[in-house]
Amino acid sequence: MWQKNKPYLLLLPAISVIVLLFFGGLFDGLLKSFGYFPAIGETRFTLTAYTALLRSSEFWESLELTLRVAMLSSLLAAILGAGIAISLFMLNKSANSGGTQIWHRLFQLPLTIPHLVGGYIIVLLFMQSGFISRIFANLGMIDAITEFPVLVNDSFGWGIILTYAWKEAPFVSLLIYPVLSRIHRSWRDVARVFGASNWNFIREIVLPVILPAWTIATFIVFVFTFSAFEVPFLIGVTYPTVLPVYSYQLYTSGTLADRPEALAVNIVLAVLTVLLGLVVYYFSKRWNVLKGWD
């Protein structure tokens, strides 16, 4: 009996903690989003919060912004991340390994920095009067502050996008690098013997090899940025704002009557991220990152 139930018992603590703390919270939120909110005397289930949400243009604009920000930041992070990974990989080949270890560490630095700080770094760098603008001015590329594009606290979301691109690029390279480093040293030799030039090698071997991991890393960044709060809260604009911040604004609006709508936003957000998560999962299963390796 014990033998048979052992794995379930081993799982029990972790599962119950998550179910209680996390799914309990989700469920609680779900009830309230349906208007079941005894604290303000509401015990009926209604769809008011959802219909109000779907009718409000703020919600739709917020959704649009969220998608845009997530899309662009994941794309940028993907490009940057691949760049880092590939240059590290090349370095590893030429340099002695001790040095590259340190490089490796350094490139991961943005990973270890809290998002809040990352966001603030971007603010200082990319404000119109920020560091980059100063550098441009000193290089004579711009003459007035206004010539520098607005990249922080802009309604397009560039600040958020830049922050995530910077923060998540090392993450992307962290996922790509192991795949890349599995490119056997001798493959270059093999390819050459069979007549492949450098460009052939990159096109036929390197790119196809990293593509699945790369895509999945990008997807993960997408899902993450889609539901992140702190950075958009810090360096976004008040209107329109990304969904998590929109939810927070409703949550703290000063009246409990707005709560169901805030929680409805949350539920919509959760459902969307789960759907996105399923897409990632589906691809990572089907399109095994390390297809053909083992």
């Binding site: 007035a144 502050i145 008040t238 609006s253 009246t255």
Partner: protein
């Protein structure tokens, strides 16, 4: 941390007991003050000036809790109320205006306590409209005044020799200096105040707005000139009005780095203290409009479920003392106008206030006082903010 005074009966006694008894009850209590925590000056003033003195003189421990937005304070109280939490940890909160109204409407505040405070009784002009009501909302003793704010414009003397004296002159200046002016996007507090000044000047003075918004027929038409003015301004604003700074702080940053030539503040002394910090240029000056600028009061209040009400009362009383207020006035500490009535102070106390070096950037206390006009009723604010979104921002 649970305190005997938290039970209702004792708490009610606090309002009738004499001050001596309140002080005794307060001794040994720990008082949490929840307030915005984003300013080094203010934090320092609380932590290094107020708290040690409270401890020393009254054996009350003041613990500052940093919040990033006063809205969060109200929200938290709302939650505690709905969860029927009776022994809360907020003892003093720093609020005013809309937040006060929300708190009052939702019964989040304790009772009329300010009348119990000796310093309130001795030094405050209780009948002044900006003390008796907070953005049009009668205070009813639920909060005690802590300091005052008056709207001033901040400019760089080198960029605008003769600052505008009216909205009309301002418009001319803006047109002549494209990209040098902007105001924070509403609902920013200061940005909203700027728009209210426009309202007063373009629609014929503040008097009409002292009654509730609902009492005005066809408010929308009445507001039109204001939107026209703002929209006319837009092409000459910073970034051609495509976007507005997210908050006053962001705007101040633009000013600090010289990107714009003018900013504004609800704190007449802020410019001076920023110069002192080296953030604003030495040539920074402030000015007010001839028609006056908005002034309001910020308050300290005690939440309904405070666990240390006696301590809170003592702390608030102490923070209203002439010494604390004088220290607060100094840009070295904070640079915030006093909530006390200068006339009620003793000669030395007055002298001490006047001796505070406000810096070249600050107007004299007298000049400021001469140009104060009252806030309008809080319900306009929402209308203006919504209207701004639709009529100005989205265009």
């Amino acid at each position: 941390q649970q305190d005997p005074t938290s039970n209702a009966e004792d708490a009610d006694n606090l309002l009738v007991d004499d001050w001596q008894q309140v002080s005794e009850l307060a001794a040994g209590q720990k008082v949490n003050i929840y307030m915005w925590g984003g300013s080094e000056n203010i934090n320092r003033y609380l932590d290094e000036w107020v708290a040690p003195r409270l401890k020393e003189d009254h054996n009350v421990e003041l613990n500052r809790v940093p919040m990033s937005d006063s809205q969060d304070i109200i929200n938290q109280l709302l939650d505690e109320k709905s969860a029927a939490k009776t022994a809360g940890s907020m003892d003093i909160i720093w609020i005013n205006g809309e937040n006060f109204k929300t708190a009052k409407d939702n019964d989040l505040l304790w009772q009329e306590f300010s009348g119990q405070l000796p310093n309130f009784n001795d030094y405050v002009d209780q009948n002044a409209p900006d003390i008796a009501s907070d953005f049009g909302e009668p205070v009813e003793g639920l909060e005690a005044p802590w300091g005052k704010a008056q709207f001033v414009f901040v400019h760089d003397k080198n960029k605008s020799e003769n600052p505008p004296k009216s909205m009309e002159e301002l418009a001319q200046w803006v047109e002549a200096n494209p990209g040098q002016f902007t105001y924070p996007a509403l609902p920013d507090f200061t940005g909203s105040a700027f728009v209210r000044h426009v309202l007063y000047e373009t629609t014929g003075g503040y008097e009409q707005y002292q009654k509730p918004a609902a009492d005005i027929d066809d408010l929308a038409t009445q507001l039109e000139p204001m939107w026209d003015y703002l929209n006319a301004l837009e092409p000459y604003l910073w970034r051609e009005g495509e976007t507005y700074p997210e908050s006053l702080v962001k705007q101040d940053q633009l000013f600090a780095t010289g990107e714009i030539g003018m900013t504004m503040s609800y704190d007449p002394i802020l410019a001076a203290s920023e110069v002192l910090k080296g953030r604003f240029p030495e040539s920074t000056r402030t000015f007010v409009l001839d028609a006056g600028t908005l002034a309001n009061t910020h308050f300290l209040s005690i939440p309904f479920n405070s666990s240390a009400k006696a301590g809170a009362m003592v702390a608030i009383n102490e923070m209203m003392s002439p010494e604390a207020q004088t220290a607060k006035l100094s840009p070295e500490n904070w640079g915030n106008l006093t909530a006390l009535d200068l006339d009620k102070l003793s000669a030395e106390q007055q002298q001490a206030m006047n001796d505070v070096e406000l810096g070249a950037a600050t107007l004299s206390l007298d000049e400021l006082e001469e140009h104060q006009i009252p806030e309008l009723s809080a319900d306009y604010i929402e209308i203006i903010e919504k209207g701004w979104m639709e009529n100005v921002a989205k265009e």
